[in-house]
């Protein structure tokens, strides 16, 4: 058996567990829009099965169908047989990469990604020169492209790259008086290069809770995007780099402000190295002290509520897939919102339904991603909320795009930004004693 097929053979038993009951059809956001059996988990699993049994080859068509998935894990959560279809589909992508190589655009991007220094430079340049090609939109922290950009839909609303990345705005460590703990902040790329406002909010909130913060300068992208695209080898390089970097930080805890980033440290890194016990053991050590920010504030820190000032906002909440079904953190962000005076919370219909961003899915399949998102926007609009809180930069960007495209005026922010604002308001209303 050739190598790419070997990759699939490992999961033969897991594949066989799918009884083709079709329960996954109910929840798959991609299937809902495309209505083709090849778009639902059951279909994709059948394609992998066909390759294994020799009835089909790993073709461009196979590749394209494996790509039709936002990795939202809804199918896995629903499946009565416990089939983790989202992971099996990733495996299908890996096999496709092995057999056919990455598509040339992705190859170029990933090559750039692999070199941390170059990557950093490229994204900084984007921040510096971005304004030339991006047009600012009033209201939101958002821009649209002035010139056509490869791989981007022209109408798409993005966030501007930061002119100074987050990690360059602060010293690597931020000592405070009488720290309760030392926290290493894994910023992730979105927060470092785009949504520095989320990063600042994380820092302020942690400070307000007497945590000493370190943002290891050499940290790299979590690797999830390349892993999702099927390039496991590169994902491992990223993972190893991050493991080494965060070991050196000697922190009590590692915190990320994104479900996917937290999931990478908590779940993916240990799994990635199941053929390398030494590295796996190190990954596991870090995994147990990694938390998503809301989870950390609520479960570990028991964040201070006495210093919170009022914010007048009607807030609804979108649960990113990797928060709701990946690391299963949904009550904590709500607990944070509930603690903020003046916030009235309105739950939307299906808060944990995928927003359609799906990592690079929305880059390649913008039309479908838009349609998935339109349902989310409709759910948001059906509440009386003026603010959407979420826990992921990618979701935030995609939702803002959706709001603008649908002519809505609500804003979308990270939960922690609202909390930071409340601490800020607390300072104004109750001056330090």
């Amino acid at each position: 058996m050739n190598k790419d097929k070997q990759l699939l053979a490992d999961i033969e038993d897991a594949i066989a567990n799918c009884m083709k009951c079709g329960n996954c059809m109910e929840v798959c956001p991609v299937y809902k829009e495309i209505q083709s059996e090849a778009a639902v988990a059951r279909g994709k699993i059948s394609l992998i099965e066909a390759v294994l049994s020799g009835n089909a080859q790993i073709t461009e068509g196979f590749d394209a169908r494996m790509a039709m998935c936002v990795s939202c894990k809804a199918c896995a959560a629903k499946c009565p047989c416990g089939v983790k279809a989202d992971e099996l589909i990733l495996r299908g992508r890996q096999a496709a990469v092995k057999a056919r190589g990455l598509n040339p655009i992705k190859k170029k991007i990933f090559k750039l990604l692999a070199n941390r220094t170059l990557f950093d430079l490229a994204l900084r340049m984007a921040g510096l020169f971005g304004p030339l090609q991006m047009k600012k939109l009033p209201g939101h922290l958002a821009v649209v492209a002035r010139f056509p950009l490869p791989g981007l839909d022209r109408r798409r609303v993005l966030a501007p790259f930061a002119s100074t990345p987050l990690r360059s705005q602060f010293p690597e460590t931020m000592p405070i008086e009488k720290p309760r703990m030392k926290v290493a902040f894994f910023t992730g790329c979105t927060i470092n290069y785009v949504y520095t406002d989320i990063g600042r909010a994380v820092i302020n909130v942690l400070k307000a809770n007497d945590a000493e913060i370190t943002m290891p300068a050499r940290q790299h992208c979590c690797g999830t995007p390349v892993y999702m695209a099927g390039d496991v080898e590169l994902a491992k390089i990223f993972a190893k780099h991050n493991i080494e970097t965060f070991e050196r930080a000697h922190a009590d805890y590692i915190v990320a402000a994104c479900g996917s980033c937290a999931e990478a440290f908590k779940i993916e890194y240990p799994e990635l190295f199941d053929d390398d016990p030494e590295l796996q053991a190190r990954a596991k050590k870090l995994a147990v002290k990694t938390y998503e920010i809301s989870e950390f504030l609520v479960d570990i820190v028991k964040f201070r509520k006495d210093k919170l000032g009022p914010i007048n906002a009607a807030v609804t909440m979108h649960d990113p897939c990797h928060m709701a079904r990946g690391i299963k953190v949904t009550t904590q962000p709500r607990a944070i919102l509930a603690a903020i005076p003046g916030v009235s919370f309105i739950e939307m219909k299906e808060p944990a339904r995928c927003c359609g961003a799906g990592g690079s899915f929305s880059l390649v399949h913008y039309e479908v991603a838009r349609k998935i998102n339109d349902r989310k926007i409709a759910d948001i609009a059906a509440t009386a909320a003026d603010t959407v809180a979420t826990s992921c930069g990618s979701c935030r960007m995609h939702i803002i795009d959706g709001l603008v495209q649908n002519g809505k005026t609500q804003d979308c922010v990270h939960v922690v930004q609202l909390l930071a604002k409340a601490y800020e308001a607390g300072k104004v209303s109750t001056p330090a004693k």
């Binding site: 329960n23 109910e26 083709s36 059996e37 090849a38 279909g43 059948s46 394209a64």
Partner: protein, 460 residues
Amino acid sequence: MESRLINDLKKIVGEQNILTSKEDLLCYAYDATPGFSHMPEAVVSPADTDEVSRVLILANNEKIPVYPRGSGTNLSAGTVPTKGGIVLLMTRFNKIIEVDDANLVAIAEPGVIVAELNKAVEEFGLIYPPDPGTVTTATLGGTVSENAGGLRGLKYGVSKHYVMGLEVVLADGSILKTGGKNVKDVAGYDLTKLFTGAEGTLGVITRIIVKLVPAPEAKKSMMAIFSNLDNAGKAIAAIIASKVIPATLEILDNATIRTVEDYAKVGLPIEAEAVLLIEVDGIPEVVEKEAAKVTEVLKANHADKIQVAQDAAERDKIWAARRAALPALAKLRPTTFTEDATVPRSKVPDMIRAVNQAAAKYNVTIGTFGHAGDGNLHPTIVCDLRDKAEMERVYQAMDEIFTTAIRLGGTLSGEHGIGLGKLKYMEDQFGAVGIRTMRTIKKALDPNCILNPGKLVGEC
């Protein structure tokens, strides 16, 4: 399929509504039935009745097999295109045309998901009772064609009790209308019933008129545990004899209880021989009275423990056990056959015992659960399709289960239909004359045998 024909089909439904690439065709080679798989040559999604008619005229002239398909969740290989040809995907027929609450009737297209129909009639205080386990994914057309039932079958019956009229495209492309909104309608042969449960072998349903019923105002659920299977059987008969017809009366056998407990930890005693799950519904006062009566009957028949749900949360807990039955069994092994043998309800304990004997004799794992109140049991066989020797034993056990059901005066299917899965037992149940009559009907309506050929009545 010749490219000339593909081009003709494209002209009818439009380029984007036909799939011909191998990767797509592979995804329509199966349904929820294990052990059957065959690729079609094209998947065609028509938008309206006229397009269906034109596709069928073409297929009939060229003698191309056509397999109507809803969501492909049936358990009888009813949608597997065993002879290639066209899979006719009906999911674009997704409009609810009318909810007529004055006449308690709804008109909908066959691609509407059953749960969506229920959502639409809910606001009128109505329900459409057939509720298969796949209610959130199965289409109305698929359920009508399979004559699907569900948990509420005992009191509310199966699909055929609710279908009042149909629009059907016949094999030659002509369009037939049957029935209507009339509650009383005895004019002519009952063509509505003929096409309901025909499993796509007689025509393609393009529009459905269904009867709705008032949603029950109140519900009460309870669970009874029996250390003796016969006592559970007697309790089932005695509940009905006491003139209470519960909406739902379900049984889990010992194998299922053990598996469910292991999987879902819902607090079932693993040594019990049977658990009965019962729900009565209706007007609050009547529900109270009936629940009391059921409890009394259960006690009289030596239930070891009776638990009556006091609120929604407790009700949920009771039904969690039933909901976990299939998933828990399915997780044991890769392949899951959910069979559908049905017997008169007094024979439920005999049937369960026969299933257990078959399991022991052929060394296969079978859990039995199902709709005890209407005798509709789901012996669920878990195995591994890749293990040839095991499958040999599985098919022998199945033979024994179905011949026993028929010997006990039962039927091959309470709600899943025949398709290919149970074809070989048909003559046992209907005799030569029965089969001949069915084939005569099939031949009369579909002389070229293009519609779902080989299913339900076999080759003709």
